[in-house]
């Protein structure tokens, strides 16, 4: 049994199978108390399965779950110090907002006056003062999610689980609600475990992130670290607009590894990773760190260069993307802020060179 009391959620060897289908492979994960933790990954990857296992809605096939140091693997949802906010609006349609929010308190046989007081306080926190008598069908999508949030927070649980809570909202509302969720979490100070497939949403709210795909825990870390220095190739591919070059290692030492792409050789800081000559590897560079350089610029220790053919310029408002085809046929993206004075019009088919600083490349051995 885990002895760490500053860990809110700990899972050890947690797995879930549905017949022959492995929804979750043996996962070990720790979530700190008071964190806003996000489970991010593609649809069908196992993030919701993991969340529902933590919440007690499904039984694990193997492994253990600890919440604040207590093993809860065999406990039902109502026996765990958790509450959940669902993707589709799980408000009780036959109850008004106040009754919805106060439902859990009534189950605790709390006096009516106290329930009313706590419900009012919670509605004020989520910005729904005066909405107590409304019915769920009279609320907008964002309002319904706030009521769900209030209903969970009023119980003063230690861990709040959120299963893609913003997926059904439009883009503008989703952005506003992200900030709202973060504000509320910082105010109440409890652990939030939030599932999403939307990386912008994840980056907005997360203190820490876990990338889950195909039932595996790919990588865990701070949101900024996963964005700027992902260790796994999958993470680099999933988070941010990264360009990934696959090749084979031809040379390596304690600090620098050289990767042969076939049409070019590039060097990258390996940050102490143990690479072997002949091993397959990938190098990723964020699209905003690539630049189109002059034709006479050569590869140096400080700068990595590769040739390409300009395909298209895509204007996206804040940024403009230049699509470049490499000699092996793959396309990469060079992103810059729109409206720069040094930007020139490049014709489709024009030969170009793409460059980046050596320290901006990241080596991925898996």
């Amino acid at each position: 049994m885990s002895q760490k009391t500053n860990i809110a959620v700990e899972v050890k060897g947690l797995a879930k199978n549905y017949g022959a289908v492995r929804a979750l492979n043996a996962i070990d994960l720790q979530i700190g108390a008071g964190e806003y933790f996000v489970l991010l990954g593609p649809s069908g990857g196992g993030k919701t399965t993991l969340l529902r296992l933590i919440g007690g809605f499904i039984r694990p096939t193997a492994g253990e779950i600890y919440l604040h140091g207590n093993e809860v693997s065999d406990l039902p949802p109502n026996g765990r110090p958790t509450s959940m906010v669902f993707q589709s609006f799980a408000l009780f349609p036959h109850m008004n907002v106040a009754t919805n929010v106060g439902y859990g308190l009534r189950l605790q046989s709390m006096p009516k006056a106290e329930i009313s007081e706590r419900v009012d306080a919670m509605l004020e926190m989520v910005g729904l003062t005066g909405y107590g008598m409304r019915m769920p069908h009279e609320l907008s999508g964002g309002q319904q999610q706030r009521v769900q949030l209030a209903r969970s927070l009023v119980l003063e649980v230690k861990i709040l689980l959120l299963d893609e809570p913003l997926a059904a909202l439009d883009a503008k509302l989703r952005k506003d609600m992200c900030i709202e969720l973060k504000r509320i979490q910082e105010k109440v100070g409890i652990t939030f475990v939030h599932v999403t497939h939307n990386q912008e949403e994840a980056m907005t709210v997360a203190d820490d992130l876990a990338i889950i795909s195909a039932g595996d825990l790919v990588e865990v870390g701070k949101a900024r670290d996963l964005y700027e220095n992902p260790v796994r190739r999958f993470t680099a591919d999933f988070i941010g607009e990264n360009n990934i070059f696959d090749g084979q290692i031809t040379d390596t030492d304690d600090t620098t590894t050289t990767v042969d792409l076939g049409y070019a050789r590039i060097s990258v800081n390996n940050h102490g990773q143990k690479a072997s000559v002949g091993e397959k590897a990938a190098v990723s560079v964020r699209s905003e760190l690539l630049q189109l350089v002059d034709a006479d610029t050569a590869t140096s220790d400080g700068l990595q260069i590769m040739p390409g053919e300009h395909r298209e310029t895509v204007y996206l408002g804040l940024t403009t993307s230049e699509l470049v085809r490499l000699p092996d046929g793959n396309e990469i993206m060079v992103r810059r802020l729109s409206g720069g004075t040094d930007a020139r019009k490049i014709d489709a088919g024009e030969a170009v060179q793409v460059g980046w600083r050596t320290e901006d490349g990241r080596l991925h051995l898996s």
């Binding site: 039902p76 036959h94 189950l107």
Partner: protein, 295 residues
């Protein structure tokens, strides 16, 4: 394909057709009601309006007793079969083998009433023989009448008969219910029973009530299985059939049948009316909300 509503006559013809079907279905019932007020009874040349036959009901002990017997059978069947159907419907929603569950639950519908009744008759007779023999072996007489034909065997037959219908009616109602609401209740601290009683049941109780009503109607309607498994002619349908076969239905039987119809139509009609009124209220509220706010 042409929109029918572009032709007003097409629209009217559709309504007329629907009305004709309803009239065809309900005509026998209305005719029985009409006869029940005739002092001279069924087939008489002259019609004289009277309430007398409704009064005579309460002095016809055979009719009253048969009605009471059937009501008891209906009540016991309802309290047994509706929970069974509900549990089966809930299992259907979570099972990985829904086709198997539906097939099993609906299988009694594919066995004709007389075959099922006869099979159950043989089953209970053999069961009775076996338990009597067991009692004789043990030297006791406890088991002698356990499976005699009577209320118990009739109720078993009625449960088998009504369970498929109850299952389907409840399943249709539960189709709109989202399981996430049960999970939400559980995550608020509710036990499985509390989640069902506070959250799910209020939303499916219309279906539960419909299933109860349907079971009562089916029980009153049932003749073959009940006759075989209960014996005698002391159920409501049994008395009516017996009268029809022998001396013709008595006038108070028409009155009693009409009363049952008034109750059934009244209950169902009220539910439909309330539902329509409520829907109209909700639509008015929604329309009011949709209108732009004045400056």
């Amino acid at each position: 394909m042409q929109d029918d509503y572009s032709s007003i006559w097409g629209y009217r013809l559709k309504w007329l057709y629907t009305l004709l079907i309803v009239v065809t279905l309900m005509a026998p019932v209305f005719y029985v009601m009409y006869i029940s007020f005739n002092e001279n009874g069924f087939g008489a040349r002259h019609y004289e309006f009277t309430f007398d036959w409704y009064v005579v009901i309460f002095s016809d002990l055979l009719l009253l007793e048969s009605f009471a017997n059937t009501l008891v059978l209906a009540a016991i069947t309802v309290v047994t079969v509706v929970p069974m159907g509900l549990i089966a419907a809930k299992h259907y929603k979570i099972t990985r083998y829904p086709v198997a569950v539906v097939s099993l639950m609906l299988s009694p519908l594919f066995v004709p009433a007389d075959i099922l009744g006869s099979a159950l008759l043989v089953f209970f007779k053999n069961l009775n023989k076996a338990f009597t023999a067991l009692g004789e072996t043990l030297g006791v007489s406890w088991f002698d009448t356990w499976f005699d034909l009577g209320y118990f065997s009739a109720i078993v037959g009625l449960i088998i008969y009504t369970l498929p219908y109850v299952f389907v009616v409840i399943l249709i109602t539960m189709a709109r219910y989202k399981e996430q609401q049960t999970e939400a209740a559980r995550s608020c601290g509710a036990t499985a029973w509390q989640a069902f009683w506070h959250i799910e049941f209020p939303q499916i109780r219309a279906g539960i009530f419909s299933a109860c009503s349907f079971t009562v109607i089916l029980t009153f309607n049932e003749y073959t299985r009940t006759s075989l498994l209960k014996g005698g002619y002391d159920t409501f349908t049994g008395v009516l059939v017996s009268q029809m076969l022998n001396e013709g239905m008595s006038e108070q039987s028409y009155a009693m049948s009409s009363m049952v119809s008034y109750i059934a139509i009244g209950v169902i009609g009220s539910i439909i009316l309330l539902t329509l009124v409520r829907a109209e209220q909700l639509e008015r509220v929604a329309r009011a909300k949709a209108e732009p706010v004045g400056a």
